[in-house]
């Protein structure tokens, strides 16, 4: 990753995921993929994919420790 800021890699990773998502959506219309799963199952599958993506980004940021009750704007003590 010499010379490329990590944030840029993240951007391209997201852009790639977005392109794949659009391609998959287009393909699913063509191949009748909606019939493979029920609406509820599709929703759960997308949520699981989103959870995994968010967890990966959070690990990347490695800042879970930064959140603290005393820093929370509505809870100044």
């Amino acid at each position: 990753m010499t010379g490329v800021p990590p944030a840029l890699w993240l951007f391209w990773a997201f852009a790639g995921l977005a392109v794949m998502g659009v391609a998959l959506a287009a393909a699913s219309r063509k191949l009748s993929l909606p019939g493979l799963l029920t609406a509820r199952e599709w929703k759960a599958a997308i949520q699981i994919a989103a959870i995994l993506a968010m967890i990966l980004v959070m690990i990347y940021f490695q800042n879970a420790h930064r959140y603290d009750a005393s820093e929370f704007i509505y809870g100044r003590f």
Binding site: A44, I48, I51, M58, A64, I73, R76, F77
Partner: protein, 386 residues
């Protein structure tokens, strides 16, 4: 807080208790949840003995007083409610001012924080007005102490809390939904708010001279930071509580898509706004209507100002918070005035104008964002804007 082991231990204990004790053993269920919550509050928030005693003392005072005072919907409920909540309010106010000025009495503020005060006043008033038919002190204790919502809401009403405890939500088959809501909340707080932080108003607090352009950009960015922080926190609380079968009211409903300031307050910190509306704005407006009948413009204007200046003080005991409250009150007064000047023509509401809605939404977002300048920057910082 969400990254601490003690938080997760308290939540795990609540989860087990909520699932093991059946809803028909309501008092036992409430008592155990209250005890675990209190232990969680002490450990996670690192309370000292004085703070612990003040929290318990305040709750005991409110519940004890409500066992003695009988409901009287036709009586002067607002006056009685203020008198009953006065000791808690006094300790909270002294602590609040001390906290803002680094005074030695700042530990007083831990009387249970601002949320306990709002819940106490709401419960007292609802009880006096006859909206809470039977008050159970054990259930009341659990209502005040319920751990996930104790620190920063969302705030149940007593009736909502009793109902969800007595008839828990069936969350079978909703595991993915709940997990998604929690991780989305965590993501907002830990990634989105943190990523925007360096460009927001809070980053300007250390500046000697504050460039005006940075303040305006920082205000818009801070809109995102605050929303992701608070809405993310609320999402996590709602998800954790749902996992226990306990339904928590929603606190946000796409507030930055509001086309008016009034609509913004219907969508932002919903549980706080409804308490302010029910317990300050409405009773004050009714009283003013009796004293000054016919003053249709003046009455809501005074009501807005009193309600929002209190809302400002509730957030912080310094002049900038009071001005932030006044800013929103002036916005609402101006909006009422504009509606009076340009009343809707008959049938106008039936034809929504998309372009007009976009302009109104952008104007409301700008107004709210500029208001955050007063919310974040103390007056001496505002004086340094060049």
């Amino acid at each position: 807080m969400f990254a601490t082991l003690s938080f997760w231990c308290a939540c795990a204990a609540l989860f087990v208790a909520a699932h093991l004790i059946p809803p028909d053993r309501l008092r036992l269920r409430a008592g155990v949840l209250a005890a675990i919550s209190l232990a969680g509050i002490i450990v996670v928030l690192d309370l000292d003995l004085r703070q612990f005693l003040l929290i318990l003392g305040s709750i005991a005072w409110v519940l004890g007083a409500l066992m003695v005072v009988k409901p009287n919907p036709r009586g002067a409920t607002l006056r009685t409610a203020v008198l009953l909540v006065a000791p808690v309010l006094m300790l909270w106010t002294v602590g609040k001012i001390a906290t803002a000025h680094e005074a030695p009495l700042r530990w007083l503020f831990f009387i249970g924080s601002s949320f306990l005060l709002v819940k106490a006043f709401s419960l007292i008033k609802d009880r006096l007005e006859g909206k809470v038919a039977a008050l159970d002190p054990v259930l009341g204790g659990a209502y005040f102490l319920f751990f996930p919502t104790f620190l920063s809401g969302p705030m149940h009403t007593y009736g909502e809390f009793r109902d969800t405890l007595a008839a828990p939500e069936d969350t079978k088959g909703q595991f993915v939904d709940i997990a998604f809501r929690f991780v989305w909340g965590l993501f907002q707080v830990n990634v989105l708010a943190v990523a925007l932080g360096p460009a927001s108003l809070t980053a300007l607090l250390d500046f000697e001279t504050i460039p005006a352009g940075h303040v305006v950009i920082g205000a818009f960015v801070y809109s995102g930071v605050l929303y992701f922080n608070f809405a993310g926190y609320s999402d996590m609380v709602i998800a954790v509580s749902r996992a226990m079968g306990i339904k928590v009211p929603e606190n946000f409903d796409w507030p930055y898509l509001a086309p008016s300031i009034r609509d913004f307050w219907r969508r932002w910190h919903i549980t706080f706004t409804r308490a302010l509306t029910a317990h300050i704005f409405m009773p004050l407006s009714r009283t003013l209507m009796r004293v000054f009948p016919g003053r249709r413009f003046l009455i809501p204007a005074v009501g807005y100002m009193a309600t929002f200046v209190f809302a400002g003080f509730w957030h912080g005991a310094t002049a900038n918070f009071l001005l932030w409250g006044a800013w929103h009150a002036i916005g609402l007064i101006a909006q009422d005035f504009a509606q009076k000047l340009f009343p809707k023509k008959p049938g106008q509401a039936a034809k929504p104008n998309f372009a007009l809605m976009v302009v109104k939404t952008a104007a409301t977002f700008t107004f709210v964002s500029l208001g955050w300048i007063l919310f974040v920057l103390p007056l001496d910082h505002i004086a340094r804007i060049r």
